[in-house]
Symmetry: C3
Subunit: 139 residues, 3 copies
């Protein structure tokens, strides 16, 4: 069994952002040399997500509006977490809806995906450097 590990860094200019990282993940799989296995991609921060869905501008706008409806940012004083001096309690909730991680299959050295699957980094409290982890095991 082989294993491979890489951190990828992001700093989005906006508080919330949705970044297609599919190509970067395939690059890491290529680097790993692993042909058959599983690839874990997870946010290393607790106010961001890694998720799989469509790279369509309208949908991303819909997600953003919907997450803001399910867990509004303001007023920030509605959240006890923000009593600590933070203003990102909503980001901890949005991240739970979208998820921390994806586990994807690697087959013949490639992401084993359906036609529209794309991996996204979902940022809900950006404007600072944050990381994701790529861990691959297989052969």
């Amino acid at each position: 069994m082989k294993s491979y590990r890489k951190e990828l860094w992001f700093k989005t200019p906006e508080r919330r952002a949705y970044v297609n990282i599919t190509g970067q993940i395939q690059n890491e799989i290529d680097q790993s040399g692993i042909q058959e296995g599983l690839c874990l991609v997870n946010a290393m921060h607790i106010t961001s997500s890694v998720y799989i869905n469509d790279d369509e501008r309208g949908l991303i706008s819909d997600y953003d509006k919907w997450l803001e409806k399910l867990a509004p940012h303001a007023p920030v004083d509605q959240y006890r977490h923000n009593d600590t001096g933070e203003d990102n309690a909503d980001a901890h909730m949005k991240r739970q809806v979208m998820g921390r991680e994806v586990v994807v299959a690697i087959t013949q050295g490639k992401l084993d995906f359906g036609p529209w699957e794309q991996i996204f980094y979902g940022e809900f409290d950006g404007r600072r450097k944050k990381r994701i982890l790529v861990k691959i095991i297989g052969e």
Copy 2:
């Protein structure tokens, strides 16, 4: 390390459906011959889910009503994704709540499950052929 891959196809007659696939997944584990490992089961489409919960008729009805409350199908013009000619933006959201994938343990060749765990295919935009992926690694 051994690996095994299989696609399973579904076409549900309704837009939304919840299909117990536990037996089919155990069959694939049997086929793989893997005794100890991990089994990834993921939707290959971005408007459906694979999730684990109870096979109880009332609960499935509750889920359906709840998902429709969190992300209503109509009016379809409330979603910018539907400006592309689709009418399934809500399905992309329902799928995020229920999740894309499950990772399950295989122990002594069996799904290593608690008493009520059942694997479901959750369809939110059916009436057409769609796939899930089963990828197993182990020994």
Copy 3:
């Protein structure tokens, strides 16, 4: 490839509880002797979650309030699942929002985590004995 399996038991005195289990999971990794691999931690019951987020008292209070807003416990007769004599339909929903499982990377024998990542057992229908599963594969 090595594999390791352990069940951990919980009985929380309240209906809903959020228990930091990070140390217990690291203990299991230590026991396994696995240095590089993947660790699956999943609820074996369908009204509880395993998730990763912050161990901050205010946030946990916010989560609890938010989950109760998304899927209220009462009135219990709003859910068809509760017609079976249960009163925990809401717990099946809260668990879907927070997730069944996490898959975490093991690197050099340690949980490969960002600075604030902590693993929680999320209980939504407690006051009885329930289990989680830890399954580790690697080398």
